[in-house]
């Protein structure tokens, strides 16, 4: 019988029977408790993918939301199951009328506890057996007809769920690079034209020995100086890609939707990557902070002071410490032996090998026992020595430590007066660069000696440099034909200029009569020297050094760009001395010149316009329209470019541009909170920058009423004629 049944069993009948058994078992309480246990086991099953998602950078709220959603789905399915098992019999009867209530009866009996059964166990078993036998004859396709629409919907939902899961699992940095829906729908051109990804490959200089590093769509990166930054820009259908930096604008062509640009990191900058297609422009920005390789530091820690030696055969125990931010390359000790006196000096230079102990690649310690007997020093001779270190930078200049002197005591037991030569000779030997060097050395000496340099000694040395500074200045005043008699005679007043003379020069400059840049630069240098001398006299070394360096800069300008300090007059400009004092006073007349236009500060104007535009964008922010959001984002990025053009090399300006770019990204993604925060940051920085250069407003105003009352009062009291 069973075999004949087996031969007539339609396809899927086993599944239908299994379904029936499953439905019956599901009604059992023990099965229900097993379901609860299964749900409990789902917790770790959900926890593992949740942990994976968190590790990939998905935010915790999203993960919790996903876990909650899945749990809710399971609970809903269980509830539907409980509800449907009560109706499953009716549903089967409706689909299979031939059952004649057999399946419904079997399921009803299975759902009842045994204790409450009104039928005996035998009847119960008989009904169950017949129902099982009948179920094997069922066609499962008749019970569960396949509908194409439902199938398509299921597939669609599955694909959507997987896409959402992918987005959820993408790290935040990469997710920002994905084209947002807002940007896609913003405009037709934006739909097909956007910078998809900017991959950055940083290759540090070889001497650092560091591996390359890469990142995708970073907003800001830090790179070592002289590193090569390679940008790979993936963009849809661009004609060209432009890399704009503070100093250059380079155009790159795209190949297969990708362009590759190179940039050498030599200073902090904001790289503006612009993709062009026709009139359409897509932008993104990358802030680059360049970490410079610092010079090594080298110090002679022992003996660490000038020595007066009783004999020339002394052994000096030297300890030298050097360190660098990356790695040291060499460390040696160089010396100069000075013999002689008066105007006869002989100099012998040499190098002393050191025993170097490398604490690590960036910290070295060297020692040496230096037997001075080998130098054959005589009383009065001097040895000047200093340590010299280099790091691994190619062609890096060597850095010297402080120079120390070891002097063999002369017969009378007094130290020599150094290398002081005749004052007149020194005057010609001095240069402005030497003034700078002397100030720097005094600063270093103050810092390194600490309490060893008394305040009096420090002030004395500063005053000496001030005197030298005045002499250097006098040389250049002579050079321009200045009247120095009063300044040389009155040494105390040399810190100040003859303002009347300078005012006349200023007047000549303003009217364009003195067009020689060299002359202007020398004038500026002289002024800087005056300030340097004044501040040196006040022992304010930091500003003095700044002024002295400014003087050097101006002198460099004067003697490199315009070597001729005196402008030769052309033939037709030559003054005809024969006509001096020969004119008639009646011919003298008034002159009328056009009004000089007030020059507006272009940078200030540009930044003010940017702040105004930003305020108008903020007024319109928050609109739900994707197109408007896309337009706002474009406008914000254009503002960033405007700000960069106003003053690109400035760190504050770069920060403003980056904040505007961050606001654009947030606007495009519909993240209103971040957009507001970035806009606020940009506006605050803009206001700070503008405030620094803006004139102060007036403090008081006067009303018409106050003016009228004041006039009435003056009429009453009477005013003087």
């Amino acid at each position: 019988m069973s075999e004949s049944h087996a031969s007539t069993v339609p396809p899927g009948a086993e599944h239908a029977a299994w379904l029936l058994v499953w439905a019956r078992r599901a009604t059992d309480r023990r099965t229900a408790s097993a379901w609860v246990g299964a749900c409990a086991r789902m917790v770790p099953m959900l926890a593992i993918p949740a942990a994976l998602l968190l590790w990939r950078g998905a935010s915790l709220p999203w993960v919790l939301l996903g876990v909650g959603a899945i749990s809710a789905l399971v609970a809903a399915a269980w509830a539907m199951h409980r509800r449907s098992r009560l109706c499953i019999g009716d549903a089967l009867e409706a689909r299979v009328p031939a059952s004649r209530n057999l399946l419904h009866t079997a399921l009803s009996l299975a759902a009842q506890p045994l204790a409450s059964m009104r039928t005996d166990i035998a009847t119960h078993a008989l009904v169950q057996e017949r129902a099982r036998t009948f179920a094997q004859t069922l066609d499962v396709r008749a019970i569960f007809p396949l509908k194409t629409g439902w199938l398509a919907l299921s597939v669609g939902l599955t694909v959507a769920a997987l896409s959402g899961l992918r987005l959820l699992a993408t790290p935040a940095a990469e997710r920002s690079a994905l084209p947002s829906f807002g940007a896609t729908r913003a405009t037709d051109r934006a739909a097909a034209f956007a910078i998809r990804t900017v991959r950055v490959l940083v290759t540090p200089p070889a001497y650092l020995g560091r591996p390359d590093s890469s990142s995708a769509n970073p907003l800001q990166i830090s790179v070592p100086a002289a590193a090569r930054v390679q940008l790979t820009v993936d963009v849809n259908g661009a004609d060209s890609v432009v890399l704009e930096t503070s100093g250059a604008r380079t155009v790159f062509s795209t190949v297969n939707g990708s362009a590759r640009a190179m940039w050498r990191a030599d200073r902090d900058d904001v790289l503006a990557v612009q993709a062009h297609r026709g009139d359409a422009i897509a932008r993104t920005f990358l802030g680059v902070r360049v970490v410079a390789d610092a010079d090594p530091r080298v110090r002679i820690t022992a003996p660490g002071r000038d020595l007066v030696l009783p004999r020339g055969d002394t052994v000096l125990r030297l300890v030298v410490n050097a360190d660098d931010d990356h790695a040291l390359s060499s460390l040696v000790l160089r010396y100069t032996k000075v013999s002689g006196s008066g105007e006869r000096f002989s100099f012998v230079e040499g190098e002393l090998p050191l025993t170097v102990r490398r604490l690590d690649k960036a910290r070295w310690e060297a020692r040496a026992d230096w037997a001075l007997a080998a130098l054959a020093l005589e009383p009065g001779d001097v040895v000047v020595y200093r340590a010299v270190a280099t790091d691994r930078r190619p062609a890096a200049p060597a850095v010297e430590s402080d120079a120390w002197i070891a002097e063999v005591m002369s017969g009378r037991g007094e130290g020599a007066a150094g290398f002081a030569v005749d004052v007149g000779e020194l005057r010609y030997a001095l240069s402005q660069q030497m003034i700078v060097m002397r100030i720097e050395r005094l600063l270093v000496a103050r810092d390194s000696l600490g309490a060893g340099l008394s305040d009096e000694a420090f002030a004395e040395r500063a005053r000496n440099i001030a005197v030298e500074q005045r002499r250097v200045r006098a040389e250049f005043v002579f050079l321009l034909g200045g009247e120095l008699s009063e300044e040389v005679a009155a040494e105390d007043n040399m810190g100040d200029l003859n303002e009347h003379q300078h005012a006349e020069v200023d007047a000549d400059l303003s009217t364009g009569r003195v067009r020689n840049e060299g002359r202007q630069a020398v004038q500026a240098a002289i002024r800087a020297m005056s300030r340097s001398a004044t501040t040196l006299a006040d022992t304010a070394l930091a500003p003095a050094l700044r002024h002295a360096r400014e003087a050097v800069t101006q002198l460099e300008i004067a003697f490199t760009r315009a070597r001729f300090l005196m402008r030769p007059l052309a033939e037709r400009e030559r003054i005809d001395l024969t006509r001096r004092l020969t004119g008639a006073l009646s011919g003298v007349g008034s002159t009328v010149q056009p009004r000089s236009a007030s020059p507006a500060d272009a940078e200030q104007v540009a930044l003010a316009a940017a702040l105004t535009d930003l305020a108008s964008l903020a007024r319109r922010a928050g609109g739900p329209d994707d197109g408007a959001r896309g337009a706002s984002a474009d406008r914000l990025q254009a503002l960033a470019a405007t700000v960069l053009r106003a003053r690109s090399a400035d760190s504050v300006t770069q920060a403003i541009a980056l904040a505007l770019n961050a606001a654009a990204v947030a606007v495009r993604r519909g993240d209103a909170t971040r957009a507001q925060s970035a806009r606020d940051q940009a506006a605050r920085l803009l206001t700070q920058r503008l405030s620094a250069g803006a004139p102060a407003s007036a403090t008081q105003t006067r009303s018409a009423d106050a003016a009228r009352r004041e006039r009435a009062r003056s009429r009453t009291s009477g005013s003087p004629p």
């Binding site: 007030s598 020059p599 105004t612 004139p695 006067r702 005013s719």
Partner: protein
């Protein structure tokens, strides 16, 4: 006696009493009328409600400002504007906020009413607050929701008054509404206020007039020419031939005999002013009297005619070996904590100062010994500014002094003293919709009464290009002053202009804000409240002592207890026991089974 009978007897007794209407005399305490006014702090309204509830059993309490009340009770430390205008006659009680509860309010919130585009505007905030350990105060300025400036200050526990200046920049012309917020973190207790700044873009019209060439005048003129806020024309007399001046002019300066009135010409800067001739003094005086500002740059002791014009008895020359620094006088100095104004304003060795300031003279810049080196004096409707910094031009380097920025600032100050021909003031300038506003129109020149007939005062709704202007009726208040009152029924919140025009010529325009509801109520100093309370016979109490408020009010008002006749049956309430007795009698009777 059974219960039904008892009820019946009671009802009959009540009816008889109602017919007889018996009377007696009893002592009764008056109920004073108390007006409770809440301050502007967020917690003041809640405290005012609590106080009203506590006082309601003993007094007749009216929330809000009622001048006719027997007593005015201020909850908080705000003095209502009505009290500022006219001192109340009724006793004033003030409940000051507790020192232990977080509270915050403006002591003052200031910004210039009118600035020029591109200028730095200092928002001066004086905040009074109570802080607890761990609190910090955050001051921020926003425009259109955009954060322009922010400063966070860590504060110690206790009650403080903090003064800070936050700089913002007027970037474009028009009304600039600045939303200022003081926030106590981490609790979030905050107070807000809106300031309205009118930004104008028209340049200051300056005439530089050098009686003879001087470095002082030259460098001041150059500093002005380099500033985009000024439109400078100049005339320098470089020589004289047979008495006729040989001049060098830039632009098209007006003749001294035909100087245009402001705003066609705002400021005249006179170099070598000590050498002005009599006719030049007369022309300048006439122009200043009409409302302009003249800045006199002295190179030497002025001639007698100039000295008489300035009403200076004598001059004192100061020569110092070392450069001396002159600083702004009070009122012209920038607010404290303004980090952008810490330079050396004015340096010089030689100064010329009056031995005594003329009557009405005000110092602008002073030496350390309070000698006024730059000072001003009012002349008619205008102002004359005198600068006796003889050699300040020699210290014009940027690192030594602020010469290049100081003189434009001083000239801008002089320009700000130029009164407009017509000025308007709206109070309140920031108010919620539905509030009453008043505009006051003042005219600088005499003889405006006849022209006032053609004036048209209109306020535009928002946005201005969609709704028609509304004309307001001006009422004369005499002496060149007019006013108009209206209820603000703006459709949309925001800035709306108020215009005064005559025959299609715009005389004045002033912005105001509708709907913000954040006008900066400023707290009054406790000493003022104490003085007011003392004068009116009131008290100043701490909010912690509010439980004793009723007793204090009783002591202050001493409500009279009067003997009054009392007729209890004239009250309708006797109907209740009468009807109750009848019903009870009916119910008891029916329950007993009787008919």
């Amino acid at each position: 006696m059974s219960w039904p009978r008892l009820c019946r007897a009671l009802a009959i007794a009540i009816a008889i009493a109602a017919a007889v209407d018996p009377g007696c005399v009893r002592a009764r305490r008056d109920r004073p009328l108390v007006s409770v006014i809440a301050g502007s702090a967020p917690t003041d309204s809640v405290r005012a409600l609590e106080v009203q509830r506590d006082l309601a059993s003993r007094f007749t309490v009216v929330p809000g400002w009622l001048p006719a009340a027997d007593l005015l009770l201020l909850v908080g430390d705000d003095l209502p504007a009505a009290m500022q205008a006219e001192a109340p006659r009724a006793p004033v009680f003030a409940l000051l906020p507790s020192r232990t509860v977080r509270d915050i309010r403006w002591r003052a919130l200031r910004a210039p009413e009118r600035v020029r585009a591109g200028e730095r505007v200092l928002v001066q905030a004086h905040v009074g607050f109570s802080a607890l350990p761990g609190d910090s105060l955050e001051l921020s300025v926003r425009r259109d929701g955009l954060l322009l400036a922010r400063e966070t200050v860590a504060v110690a526990p206790g009650r403080h008054v903090l003064t800070r200046s936050l700089p913002v920049v007027a970037t474009d012309s028009g009304a600039m509404a600045l939303e200022v917020t003081a926030l106590l973190t981490p609790t979030g207790v905050q107070v807000q206020g809106v300031l309205l700044v009118d930004v104008v873009s028209t340049p200051v019209q300056v005439l530089s007039l050098d009686v003879r060439p001087t470095w002082f005048g030259t460098f001041v003129r150059r500093a002005l020419s380099a500033d985009a806020r000024f439109a400078v024309v100049s005339r320098t007399t470089i020589s004289r031939t047979d008495g006729a001046p040989i001049t060098r002019t830039e632009g098209a300066p007006p003749a001294l005999s035909a100087l245009p009135a402001p705003p066609a010409l705002d400021v005249i800067v006179v170099g070598a002013a000590q050498a002005l001739e009599a006719r030049e003094v007369d022309a300048l005086d006439a122009w200043v009297q009409s409302g302009g500002s003249a800045v006199l740059l002295l190179d030497d002791v002025p001639a007698a005619r100039v000295q008489r014009w300035l009403d200076v008895p004598a001059w004192r020359r100061i020569d110092r070996a070392e450069p001396q620094r002159a600083s702004f006088a009070r009122g012209l100095d920038h607010a404290p904590h303004d980090a952008t104004d810490d330079g050396a304003p004015l340096l010089g060795r030689q100064w010329l100062v009056p031995t005594r300031l003329p009557r009405g003279g005000a110092p602008w810049m002073m030496l350390g010994d309070s000698s006024p080196v730059v000072w001003s004096i009012a002349r008619g409707a205008g102002t004359v500014v005198v600068a006796g910094a003889l050699d300040a031009w020699a210290f014009r380097e940027g690192e030594r002094s602020d010469f290049a920025t100081l003189w434009p600032r001083l000239i801008a100050e002089a320009a700000s003293r130029v009164a407009p021909a017509v000025s308007m003031r709206v109070t309140p300038s920031v108010a919620p919709r539905g509030a009453w506003r008043r505009v006051e129109v003042d005219v600088r020149d005499d003889g405006a009464d006849s022209a006032a007939a053609s004036w048209r005062l209109t306020r535009s709704s928002i946005p201005t290009d969609q709704l028609a202007d509304e004309r307001l009726a001006l009422v004369t208040r005499g002496d060149g002053r007019w006013s108009a009152d209206w209820r603000d029924e703006a459709v949309t919140e925001g800035v709306q202009p108020l215009r005064l025009s005559a025959a299609a010529v715009e005389l004045a325009v002033i912005p105001m804000i509708s709907g913000a509801g954040m006008s900066p109520h400023e707290a009054t100093h406790p000493s003022v409240l104490r003085a007011l309370a003392e004068v009116t016979g009131g008290r100043v109490l701490d909010i912690d002592a509010a439980s004793a408020l009723g007793r204090e009010i009783d002591e202050a008002l001493r409500p009279a207890t009067r003997q009054q006749p009392w007729h209890p049956m004239r009250s309708p309430w006797w109907l209740l026991p009468f009807v109750g007795a009848l019903l009870a009698e009916w119910w008891l009777r029916r329950r007993a089974g009787r008919p």
